[in-house]
């Protein structure tokens, strides 16, 4: 009885009595969610274009951030470091296409998936070899002061991160959905051989997509790195992207965004208002529980292509 009350009554009463605080939590959740969306985007891009779940996305985020912070520590100015790190990610895309995707063309998806696991291990080791295994603090000059906007407390850093993510997403949406590239992309994801037969340059498409995913990873890495320091646990944020993808659908760019926001808001609300009922630390597993519910009732996610259309 006590538990039921703690789960169903107390939090609601608590929320009703303090609406401004709820708003604050929701906004904090939205802003945190944007960061999840950013990581999830990288997955969606590669999944759409090659039908492969890129296990190495988290490691790519880490590797990009490490490269960025490594360059800054060696005295390269921020914009220079960004450009060089982006170039490194493009180079990585070229190498991945040449050494991994090209030999595996027309193979089962599971084989490509195994390839990306190998890539994750390689990048993990390679990153440590080149940049060392220490935690690198990263400060790119985004102010972290708390702001009061309309009586609601907001972290300025979160605002900047949200703005960056939003503009990145808008650019990507235009790039991939309003151009013939979008169609080529879906074609490649659907059937490699047929795509080749109409002359879609498979290799260029892959390089483009992996490059974009790499640069998105770089942005995500910089944002997360400024928050937590660049360290190997960053590659684990990719795990948080999984529930986001299950909510939003693996094939949908808008889905990744909305999914990230739902997870962000959901876990903050759950932590603050339901945390005490479950003994705290709900934030860590709430997203996965939510994803599980989605898997039961809507396996394609909110925006994913209906599976029936793909049989």
């Amino acid at each position: 009885m006590d538990l039921l009350a703690a789960v169903f009554l107390a939090p609601i009463a608590n929320m009703a009595s303090n609406p401004e605080f709820v708003l604050e939590v929701v906004i904090g959740g939205l802003l945190a969610g944007v960061m999840y969306s950013l990581v999830a985007l990288g997955f969606v891009l590669i999944y759409k274009a090659s039908g492969v779940f890129n296990f190495a996305q988290g490691t790519m985020v880490l590797f990009a951030a490490l490269t960025f912070v490594g360059l800054i520590e060696r005295g390269v100015p921020i914009w220079g470091a960004f450009v060089i790190a982006a170039a490194v990610m493009v180079l990585l895309a070229v190498v991945v296409e040449r050494l991994m995707l090209r030999p595996l063309v027309n193979q089962e998806q599971i084989i490509l998936f195994m390839g990306t696991i190998g890539l994750a291990f390689f990048l993990d080791g390679f990153g440590q070899l080149v940049w060392g295994a220490d935690v690198h603090p990263l400060d790119i000059g985004i102010p972290k002061a708390p702001l009061i906007i309309g009586g609601v407390l907001v972290n300025e850093f979160d605002l900047v991160a949200a703005a960056v993510a939003a503009s990145l997403v808008a650019a990507l949406a235009l790039f991939f959905q309003r151009t013939p590239i979008g169609r080529a992309l879906r074609a490649v994801a659907d059937d490699h051989q047929a795509a080749q037969s109409v002359g879609i340059p498979l290799r260029s498409i892959w390089v483009i997509v992996w490059s974009v995913a790499g640069v998105v990873g770089l942005v995500a890495g910089i944002m997360w790195g400024s928050n937590l320091g660049v360290q190997f646990s960053i590659s684990l944020v990719a795990l948080k992207a999984l529930p986001v993808l299950m909510l939003g659908g693996f094939t949908s760019v808008p889905g990744a965004i909305v999914g990230g926001l739902i997870v962000g808001v959901g876990e903050k609300l759950a932590e603050v208002f339901w945390g005490s009922a479950f003994g705290g630390a709900i934030e860590d597993w709430f997203a996965y529980a939510l994803a599980l519910v989605f898997l039961l009732f809507r396996p394609q996610g909110l925006f994913g292509e209906r599976i029936i259309e793909r049989v």
Binding site: R186, D190, D191, A195, Q196, S197, I200, E309, V311
Partner: protein, 271 residues
């Protein structure tokens, strides 16, 4: 009356093996401008392998391919598509999650401005170009009589219609050479008649050269100008349908009489 011209594609002494299995051994073949060439032969004779060599999916170990006067060791799929060779597949290879319209539009990708990236950035002109291509695609849709399924994801269409959409996608590329791998497989009589009509119309109206693989002998004899017969990776006959039909070697290959010099299990590639 159409005039069959000079060879547009010549394959010379092509050999292809997968490991120890020989799919094609020293085949030479010409495809002449504006003709309809039928390739026939028992299963595993190497017909599909031949198409795969022509459009660059397979790299032969020996021989050359001459396309419009340019001789190569092998084609690449992108090259073949860019230079006017389109094809359909034995087991329909469509983009199943996409609509009929979008599937056929993919056939226009190469005809859109070459620079992919530029297109991605440059919206205004790109949209106009898209519209022009759309008009073209609508014409193909009318031609193939598939207006009613324009907006349906092709994964939901019956097999016969899928084959038609696949033909439409190949046509959208405005090919000079159209390779059709068993365009009528799994169709009922009515669908076959429609498909025959389309193939003949394409050949006559657009002058498209067509090489097709087909098992239905009635169809082959009706629509083709020339028939090439493959057996165990070799070419055993090549000529007008009436001649090929009475060739003893062809009859032997189909009926398996003792004239067949190959014991069963002799190397042959995937059909």
């Amino acid at each position: 009356m159409k005039r069959i011209g000079e060879p547009i594609l010549t394959v010379d002494a092509i050999s292809l093996a997968f490991g120890g299995i020989t799919a094609l051994s020293g085949i030479s073949l010409e495809i002449r401008r504006h003709e309809i060439l039928a390739m026939i032969g028992p299963n595993g004779a190497g017909k599909t392998s031949m198409l795969n060599v022509i459009n660059g999916f397979y790299y032969p170990q020996a021989g050359t391919i001459t396309w419009k006067g340019e001789t190569r060791r092998h084609m690449r799929p992108y090259q073949a598509a860019a230079q006017g060779i389109a094809r359909t597949f034995q087991n329909v290879a469509l983009f199943k999650g996409m609509t009929t319209l979008d599937n056929i539009m993919t056939g226009r990708l190469l005809l859109m401005r070459r620079n992919f990236l530029w297109q991605a950035i440059h919206f205004g002109p790109a949209r106009q170009e898209e519209l022009a291509h759309r008009t073209n695609v609508e014409r193909i849709i009318d031609f193939l009589e598939i207006q009613a399924i324009r907006k349906i994801p092709v994964g939901r269409l019956p097999y016969g219609l899928q084959k038609r959409v696949e033909l439409g996608r190949a046509l959208a590329m405005e090919p000079e050479l159209l390779l059709l791998d068993e365009p009528m497989a799994g169709m009922n009589v009515e669908e076959k008649e429609d498909m025959c009509r389309f193939i003949l119309d394409i050949n006559e109206e657009f002058g498209t050269t067509i090489a097709l693989i087909e098992h239905d002998m009635g169809v082959v004899m009706d629509i083709s100008d020339r028939v090439a017969v493959l057996d165990y990776g070799r070419k055993i006959a090549d000529g007008p349908p009436a001649e090929v039909r009475i060739s003893p070697e062809v009859i032997a290959a189909y009926l398996g009489q003792q004239a067949d010099p190959h014991p069963p299990g002799d190397g042959m590639g995937g059909g």
